[in-house]
Symmetry: C2
């Protein structure tokens, strides 16, 4: 035991000289950097900020710093990100991009860096996986629409190349199938952006049998869809019900507030962080549920007026 007086004096000196241990020296000798990497596609996409924040919060709480990097959906940037992570000797990397590059993964794996992925990849030695149950929320959404009386239900998907977008689309088709109302012509491709949702909805509105409800692959798409509906002189949810996906912060503040499927970014972040710092001994697969949250963009179909509405020119769009 050290003399209490001495202890005081040491702390006083620390205070006095504003002494801070040098993490670089510490890392050098210990081999541990106390840094976690977080790679996202684009922090500007409203899906990510909460994820980043959540990740930061739990990492910080556990004594880690976070190196955030955006790939900007660009695999060259991704390579740079990985390199920087490696140079900084991160103790784990969360790759939350939905895209991935096997070569880079191999590089990380070769360094024994723990990794966690969102949706993609197969769990392994130091490789965890967050698997989102998209189907759950989508089933809830379809069930909700069917219960309201909708039969012509459409889907605006994400970009065809994105695996998690495929999963959502397939879940949608499967859910409709259960009610015997599936129809592939009512699936149109969007791009997970507002502009894509707008364009997709215009195509849907031009259909001979216009859908009475549309589910979007993400909220941005749904917002674009709402714009298209309004531009066509129609109204949500009177003429068309719309359901989003993700429940981004903004969904609460659209007009009308968007009924959507919540995918908790906080939960994603927490699980990703836990997967890396290994509190969850041995667990390699982390399921995340999704659930419908009801707001005001869905209502029963307005069938009475349908005939009149069809006669209306669609040229406004």
């Amino acid at each position: 035991m050290v003399e209490p007086g001495t202890r005081e004096r040491v702390f006083a000196a620390i205070e006095e000289l504003k002494y801070y241990p040098d993490t670089h020296a510490r890392s050098l000798v210990s081999g541990r950097s106390r840094i976690l990497g977080l790679i996202v596609s684009d922090i500007t996409n409203p899906f990510f900020p909460e994820l980043v924040k959540g990740f930061e919060d739990v990492a910080t709480a556990r004594g880690y710093d976070v190196l955030v990097s955006s790939t900007n959906y660009n695999s060259e940037r991704m390579a740079l990100c990985v390199r920087r992570m490696l140079e900084r000797k991160v103790e784990g990397v969360a790759i939350m991009t939905s895209e991935m590059d096997d070569k880079l993964i191999a590089q990380l794996a070769g360094r024994n860096v723990p990794m966690v992925f969102l949706d993609v990849g197969t769990p392994g030695e130091r490789l965890s996986n967050i698997v989102v149950d998209y189907a759950m929320g989508i089933n809830e959404a379809v069930e909700h629409l069917v219960a309201l009386g909708h039969e012509r239900i459409a889907f605006v998907s994400g970009p065809a190349g994105l695996q998690s977008a495929q999963v959502r689309r397939d879940a949608f088709l499967k859910a409709l199938h259960r009610y015997g109302i599936g129809d592939r012509r009512r699936v149109v491709e969007g791009d997970h952006k507002v502009s894509g949702g707008l364009a997709a909805m215009e195509r849907l509105l031009a259909l001979a049998e216009r859908p009475t409800a549309v589910l979007a692959s993400n909220d941005l798409t749904a917002i674009g869809m709402m714009r298209a509906v309004r531009r066509a002189g129609l109204s949500v949810p009177r003429d068309i019900s719309i359901v989003g996906f993700d429940d981004i912060w903004l969904a609460e503040f659209t007009e009308p507030p968007l009924t959507t499927v919540r995918l908790s970014r906080l939960e994603l972040a927490e699980k990703a962080c836990c997967a890396l710092v290994g509190t969850s001994a041995g667990q390699r697969v982390f399921p995340v549920e999704t659930h419908l949250v009801l707001r005001e963009s869905t209502a029963p179909p307005h069938t009475v007026e349908a005939g009149r509405e069809f006669a209306r020119p669609q040229a406004f769009s």
Copy 2:
């Protein structure tokens, strides 16, 4: 000069062994970390993601990594942020929080860490300042509204404690004064959040002489205001014109699209980064302009109907 063959073999070996220099060792000996700190209030606030992205982009381009931290508007967290930055021996810190804590600043300054602030603080030795010309855009906005024929123009401010919010409010009052239409009763306090904008607008709508146009201290406030207007059964811009501030990404997608004053986060980010890595030799003050961007939330006042509208009960809100 080294033998070309040798050079080849060395590079081959680097590739073969996947050699990466250890930044920690490098930092230890050189004293340079190649890390820049970026402290923001809350990355979840839509103002910040673009700022973070821009900062990251230019820092990365210059060979720096970025340590991002959120203070969550909490000065304890701020202290932790500063400490972590210091431990990692950052070569500069951008403090983009609009709040600041003199003690912490002194701590940074004592370490000779270059700093750059947004709005607050006074430039000095290693202390740069980004000064936003809020008045410019606000003047443009007021001018625009007056040109449309508005006279009862109100303002929903930010939180009273925030210096940059005061600046905006004062600029507004001054601009109105030039036209002889200033009236302090038409300034109500918001909180830079949607809920505050909503509440503030409800108060404004209850005024005997209801304003025909309202300028918001930021876009989130403006969005809340739009909701309040709609809830009261009125319409933007027919009954009330609304102008936001910041031009967050979302402003383009509100209904109607929001006329607002643009404050470029990219420019902020670039200047902050330059201020730190010292490309701009000796410059300590970095002005940033703001400009009105016209969209669809402003229109001439609907004076003819005003009488009738006034008679309408406000109870809906």
